[in-house]
Amino acid sequence: MTIIYSETEASLSDDVCVQEVDALMEWLLSHPEGRINLKLCRHLHLAALQSLMCVKRPVTEWPDDPGLRYWVEPALSKQEDHV
C-alpha cells in the first residue's frame, strides 16, 4: 500500500497506482477536512491526480520528486486558492 490514511491526512508514497484510486476517493469523500501529503510520492496515476484535483484539498507537503512536483503543484495549488 502506498497510501497511509489517518483521520486528518492521506500520505501518499512511492508510485500510487490506479488500483488505489477507489480507496483514495472514498477517504476523500468521507474526510472533507482531510489533507494531502505528497512528500514521499514519486508518481501518481492520473486517475489519482484527477481525484485530488476534483476534491480540492490542501496539500501539506509537496513531493520531493521534482518531476512529479512540476505537475502536481500547479494542478493542486491553483485549486487551493479557490477554497
Binding site: V21, L28, H43, H45, L46, C54, V55, Y70
Partner: protein, 937 residues
C-alpha cells in the same frame, strides 16, 4: 549449443510435425476453417521464433509460407494438393535445417538457393496476381494540424497564439533558447476518456516525454460535484513543449497516435510578450542605448542597462516582458534574437525600427556548420584508416602462394571483403575497377588484383574527400568474419601455411572491426554484455522455473530415476530377510515384527513411487502414429494407390521403450500393407471394392497390456501361396504342408527367412519380411498374430506389455545357481515323480493333465555337466512353460518363488549371451540372470 537454440530446435521440430499433421487434416477436408487457422498459427509461431536468431533463409521461406497461409485463412479458396506438397517440402527443408543446426552447433550451412526457390514457389500460390498488398500501416495523421503560422505583418494587437498561451513566460523563454535553432514542437495530448481501462497512465507517459521543455495540464472535471465524480474517466488534457523531433514524439505516442496533435512552434511566435501596453514606459534614448550596446556586441553593458531599466518598470507591462526576453537572449549570446527583441521593444514603444550595423552578422550558424563539416571529414578519415587496414590484410592474404587449390576461393573472398568495404564507403568507381581486376585475377593473372589493391591503397591515402555516411556496416564486418573462417580452413591445408594464416588472423584481430566481428558471431546471444555463462544460467533457470504444465525432461534423468527406484525396490526386499534373521538367528521376535511392519510401509511407498515413475515414462501411442499420415500419403501417392488411414486409440499409453520399439515394426507393417495388401484403384473397382483402400490402426488397452491392431481391406494373404513358398524354401515339410490350417499357414510369414514379395521394391520386401517385425515385438515381450482372408484383407494383432520396467519372474535353482524365468511364460510348477518320466524317441516326456509334455533338463540346455537334483521323494521339479505355441516342461533343481524385478539389458560382452535376456538384482543383493527361453529351447 546454447539453451535457447536447443529449445528452438526442439520446438521447431514439434511445430514442423504439427504443421504436417494439420496439412494432412486439411486434405481430408476436416474442420477446414479451424485447420487453416491452426496452420497459420503454427507457421506464424515458427516464423516468429526464427526471428530470434539470424537464420535469414529459414525466416525467408517461412515468411512466404505465412503470407500464403494468412491469405488462405482470410479468403475462401479451394485448397490445392500441390500446395500441401509444397509446404511439406518446405517442412522437410526446415527439418534438415534443424538437423544442421544441431550438427553444426548453430552455424548451419543453409541452401540459400533452395530457400529462395521454395519461397518463390510459395508465392506462386498467392491468390492475387500481384503480391498481396501488405496490410498498410495506419495512414499517417494528416498534417492538418500543421497550419502555417507564418505572419508577415502583425495586426495591431495580436492575440497570443493558442499554442503558447498555456505556458508561463519563463517556460517559453526556456523553450526558445533550449531549442537553439532546432524546431520546437507544441504537443496537445488528449487521452481518450476510457484510456485508464487500456492500462494507460497519461501522466506517466507525459513525464517520460523525450525532449521535454515545459508542460501544463488542464482538468475538465473542475467544479464537478465531488460525489458524482468518476476518477476513472480521463478528463485531463496536456499541453506540452518539446525539443524532440517529430519522429521521436510520434514514436513515444505510437500506441495513441490519434490522441496527439503536433504543431511546430515557428520562430515567428517569439518572443511572446504579455502584459499591458504603455507606450512611453521606456525613453527612446534608453531604447537606442540598448540597440547600440547590442550592435557593439557588449553583453555586459546591455545586461546592466536592461536590469536597470527593468527595475524601474512595472513587471506587468509588455515592455517589461520584452526586456526580460532580451535579457534571456543576451544571456544566450544570441545576437539575432537580441535584435528581434529590441525591434519588438521599439515596436511597443512606437519607435522606428533600428538598423543594425553589419558586424553583428550572425556567425553562430556558420561556425556550427563548419564544425559539422570537420566532423564529417574526421569520420571519413577513420573509415579510410579502416579501409587501409582491410586492404593491407587482404593483400597479404593474396601474396601467399597462388598456385594452391585454394587460391580461387581466396581471391573471391578477398574481393568480397574489399567490395563490402567499398560499398560501405560508397566508392563506386573503385568498385568497378575491383570487379574487373578480379575477373582478370581469376583467369590468368593473380597479380592483377594485388596491383589493383596497391592502387586502391594509394588512392585511399590521397582521397579523404569522399563523402562518407557510415562507418563499417555490419555487412562488411560479417563478411570479414566469414572470410576469416575461410582463410582458417585454408590454413589447415599445410602446416607452414597455418602459422602464416594465424598471423594474418591476428592482424585482423587487431583491426578496429574486431569487436563487431565478435558481436556478429555472438548473434544468437541476447546481450553481449553478459558473459555467456551467466546468460546460460539465466536461460536454464528460466526453463526450469517455466510455469507451463508440462516439463520436458531428459530421457537420461528419467532413466536414472528408474534405476534408483529399481535399486530401492531391491534394497527394500532385503528387509524381510533381515526380519527373519532377527527372529531366527537372534531370537528377537519383536524386532522381527517391527521390521516387517516397517517393511510394509516402505513397500507401499516404494510401489507407489515406482508406479509414479512408470507413469512418467508412459507415452501416448500417437507419439509414433503422428508420422504415419504423412508416410501413408507419400507411399500411396508413389504407388498410385488411394488409401485412407484411420488411427484409433492414439492416446493409449505405454512405456516409452515399448512405444519406441514399436515404431519400426509398425512402419514395416504399413509399408507391407500399402505395397502388397491394398490393390491399385482399378483392381479394387473390378473386385467390387471402393477405389480407396482403408488402413486402420487401432490401439487399445487391456489389463496391463496394449493391443495394437493393423487392418487393411486389401487382397489379403493366400494361404496356399504361403504354404507353397514355405515348402519351396524348406521351412516346412510335406507333412506340415498337408496338416497346416489356413491360419497357421498365414502365420508362416512370421518365420525367419520368409518373405512373400516376389519382387523387391524400394518400399518393402527387402527380404527381411515380417519376421523382423516379430523379432522386434518379441524383444519387448510382445506377441503378434496374423489373420487374413484372401480378397478381404489382413489383420495383424500385436500385444505388448504396457510397461517393461518391472517383470515378474519365477526364480528357480539349478546347479546351485538362481535363474529367473519371466512369469508370463510360466504355466505351472509341478513335482513329477521320476517314475512318471518316460523316454519316447530319445525325448523325455511326461503326461500332465492327459497331455504329453516334452521335458528338457535346464542343466542340459545350458550345457552344464550335471544331472538335475531331485527332492527326498524322488520327484523332479518341473516348470511348465509356453514358448510360442509349444508347451514344454523344464526340469530344474528347485523352485524359489516369484519376485518382481527390474530387468536390465545385458551390456558389453554379456550382450552376446543370447541365452539370457537380461539380469536383475534381487533382495539379498545377488545378481539374477533372466533366461531367454526362446533362445535356449
Amino acid at each position: 549449443m546454447n539453451p535457447l537454440l536447443k529449445q528452438f530446435v526442439s520446438e521447431s521440430r514439434d511445430l514442423i510435425q504439427s504443421i504436417s499433421e494439420s496439412l494432412l487434416l486439411l486434405e481430408k477436408n476436416a474442420n477446414t476453417r479451424d485447420t487453416l487457422n491452426e496452420l497459420f498459427r503454427l507457421i506464424h509461431t515458427l516464423k516468429g521464433n526464427t526471428g530470434l536468431f539470424d537464420f535469414p533463409d529459414m525466416t525467408h521461406v517461412l515468411h512466404a509460407a505465412e503470407d500464403i497461409m494468412a491469405e488462405r485463412r482470410d479468403v475462401e479458396a479451394p485448397w490445392e494438393q500441390t500446395l500441401t506438397d509444397l509446404i511439406l517440402e518446405v517442412m522437410d527443408y526446415l527439418s534438415e535445417f534443424c538437423n544442421q543446426l544441431e550438427i553444426t552447433d548453430g552455424n548451419p550451412v543453409s541452401d540459400t538457393v533452395m530457400a529462395h526457390q521454395l519461397a518463390g514457389q510459395l508465392r506462386g500460390f498467392s491468390l492475387s496476381a500481384q503480391p498481396p498488398a501488405s496490410v498498410s500501416d495506419k495512414p499517417k495523421k494528416k498534417p492538418a494540424a500543421r497550419k502555417s503560422r507564418k505572419k508577415t505583418d502583425r495586426p495591431e494587437e495580436p492575440a497570443e497564439s493558442s499554442t503558447t498561451a498555456s505556458f508561463t513566460e519563463s517556460e517559453l523563454i526556456r523553450a526558445w533558447f533550449c531549442s537553439g535553432n532546432e524546431s520546437l514542437l507544441h504537443l496537445v495530448y488528449t487521452p481518450a476518456s476510457d484510456c485508464f481501462f487500456q492500462g494507460e497512465d497519461p501522466l506517466y507517459s507525459v513525464r517520460q516525454l523525450p525532449g521535454f521543455v515545459a508542460g501544463s495540464l488542464s482538468f475538465q472535471g473542475d467544479g464537478a460535484a465531488a460525489e458524482g465524480f468518476d476518477p476513472f474517466q480521463c478528463q485531463t488534457r496536456f499541453s506540452l513543449l518539446t525539443q524532440a523531433s517529430e519522429t521521436e514524439i510520434r514514436e513515444h505516442f505510437r500506441y495513441v497516435p490519434e490522441q496527439i496533435e503536433l504543431t511546430p512552434l515557428a520562430e515567428e511566435l517569439f518572443p511572446v510578450l504579455r502584459g499591458d501596453i504603455q507606450a512611453s514606459a521606456v525613453s527612446e534614448e534608453t531604447a537606442d542605448d540598448l540597440c547600440k550596446a547590442a550592435e557593439q556586441n557588449d553583453s555586459s553593458k546591455l545586461m546592466a542597462l536592461t536590469d536597470a531599466t527593468l527595475e524601474l518598470l512595472n513587471p506587468d507591462l509588455k515592455v517589461a516582458a520584452a526586456l526580460r526576453w532580451l535579457k534571456a537572449a543576451t544571456d544566450a549570446s544570441d545576437t539575432v534574437r537580441q535584435q528581434r527583441c529590441l525591434q519588438e521593444l521599439r515596436d511597443l514603444l512606437q519607435l522606428p525600427q533600428w538598423t543594425f550595423a553589419e558586424p553583428a552578422a550572425p556567425v553562430a550558424a556558420a561556425s556550427k556548420s563548419d564544425s559539422s563539416r570537420n566532423l564529417r571529414l574526421e569520420l571519413a578519415r577513420d573509415d579510410e584508416d579502416a579501409l587501409q587496414q582491410i586492404l593491407t590484410t587482404q593483400k597479404r592474404l593474396l601474396e601467399k602462394d597462388t598456385r594452391d587449390v585454394w587460391s580461387a576461393g581466396r581471391i573471391a573472398s578477398a574481393v568480397n571483403v574489399i567490395r563490402n568495404a567499398l560499398i560501405a564507403m560508397q566508392k563506386d568507381d573503385d568498385l568497378r575497377r575491383l570487379d574487373s581486376a578480379m575477373e582478370q585475377a581469376l583467369q590468368v593473372q593473380p597479380a592483377a588484383l594485388a596491383a589493383e589493391l596497391d592502387v586502391l591503397t594509394v588512392a585511399a591515402d590521397v582521397s579523404p574527400e569522399n563523402t562518407v555516411s557510415a562507418t563499417a556496416t555490419p555487412a562488411t564486418v560479417a563478411s570479414t568474419a566469414d572470410n576469416a573462417q575461410i582463410s582458417d580452413d585454408a590454413g589447415d591445408d599445410t602446416d607452414d601455411e597455418e602459422s602464416d594464416d594465424e598471423e594474418i588472423n591476428d592482424h585482423a584481430m587487431a583491426d578496429d572491426t574486431v569487436p563487431v566481428v565478435q558481436h556478429v558471431q555472438k548473434a544468437a546471444d541476447i546481450t553481449p554484455a553478459k558473459t555467456s555463462a551467466e546468460l546460460n544460467d539465466n536461460l536454464t533457470a528460466s526453463v526450469q522455473s517455466g510455469s507451463s504444465r508440462s516439463v520436458k525432461v531428459d530421457q537420461e534423468k528419467i532413466d536414472r530415476l528408474m534405476n534408483l527406484i529399481g535399486e530401492m525396490v531391491v534394497a527394500k526386499n532385503a528387509l524381510p530377510y533381515l526380519a527373519r534373521r532377527a527372529e531366527e538367528e537372534h531370537g528377537l521376535r519383536d524386532l522381527g515384527r517391527d521390521i516387517k511392519e516397517q517393511f510394509a510401509v516402505i513397500n507401499r511407498i516404494a510401489e507407489e513411487m515406482q508406479d509414479s515413475i512408470m507413469q512418467i515414462r508412459m507415452m501416448p501411442f500417437s507419439f509414433i502414429t503422428m508420422r504415419f499420415p504423412r508416410l501413408v500419403r507419400d507411399i500411396s501417392r508413389r504407388l498410385n494407390k488411394n488409401v485412407q488411414l484411420m488411427i484409433e486409440g492414439e492416446d493409449t499409453e505405454a512405456d516409452k521403450n515399448i512405444i519406441e520399439s514399436l515404431a519400426e515394426p509398425l512402419i514395416h507393417i504399413l509399408r507391407n500393407s500399402l505395397d502388397h495388401g491394398i490393390e491399385a484403384p482399378e483392381v479394387r473397382r473390378k473386385a467390387g471394392k471402393p477405389a480407396a483402400g482403408t488402413l486402420t490402426i487401432k490401439a487399445s488397452q487391456e489389463a496391463d497390456r496394449v493391443l495394437i491392431e493393423i487392418h487393411d481391406d486389401g487382397k489379403g494373404i493366400d494361404p496356399e501361396v504361403i504354404k507353397q513358398k514355405a515348402l519351396e524354401k524348406g521351412l516346412i515339410d510335406d507333412a506340415a504342408f498337408q496338416r497346416l490350417t489356413n491360419r497357421e499357414a498365414i502365420n508362416l510369414v512370421l518365420i525367419p527367412g520368409f518373405s512373400t514379395a516376389s519382387e523387391v521394391s524400394d518400399l518393402s520386401g527387402r527380404g527381411v519380411g515380417m519376421d523382423a517385425v516379430r523379432c522386434a515385438v518379441e524383444k519387448v515381450n510382445g506377441s503378434m498374430a496374423l489373420d487374413s482372408e484372401a480378397g478381404k484383407g489382413t489383420r495383424i494383432r500385436i500385444s505388448l506389455p504396457m510397461s517393461i520396467a518391472v517383470t515378474r519372474v519365477m526364480i528357480v535353482e539349478s546347479d546351485n545357481q538362481l535363474l529367473g524365468i519371466p512369469m508370463d511364460q510360466v504355466l505351472e510348477t509341478v513335482r513329477v515323480p521320476a517314475t512318471d518320466i518316460h523316454t519316447v524317441k530319445s525325448i523325455q516326456t511326461t503326461v500332465l493333465r492327459e497331455r504329453i509334455v516334452p521335458l528338457r533338463s535346464l542343466n542340459n540346455l545350458l550345457a552344464i555337466d550335471a544331472s538335475q537334483r531331485m527332492n527326498e521323494d524322488n520327484e523332479c521339479a518341473v516348470l511348465v512353460v509356453r514358448v510360442g505355441i509349444d508347451v514344454i516342461g523344464l526340469i530344474v533343481d528347485n523352485f524359489r518363488g516369484s519376485a518382481d524385478i527390474i530387468q536390465k539389458p545385458m551390456t558389453g560382452v554379456l550382450n552376446g549371451l543370447r541365452a539370457y535376456s537380461g539380469a536383475a538384482l534381487i533382495g539379498d543383493g545377488s545378481v539374477l540372470m533372466i533366461l531367454n527361453l526362446k533362445e535356449i529351447l
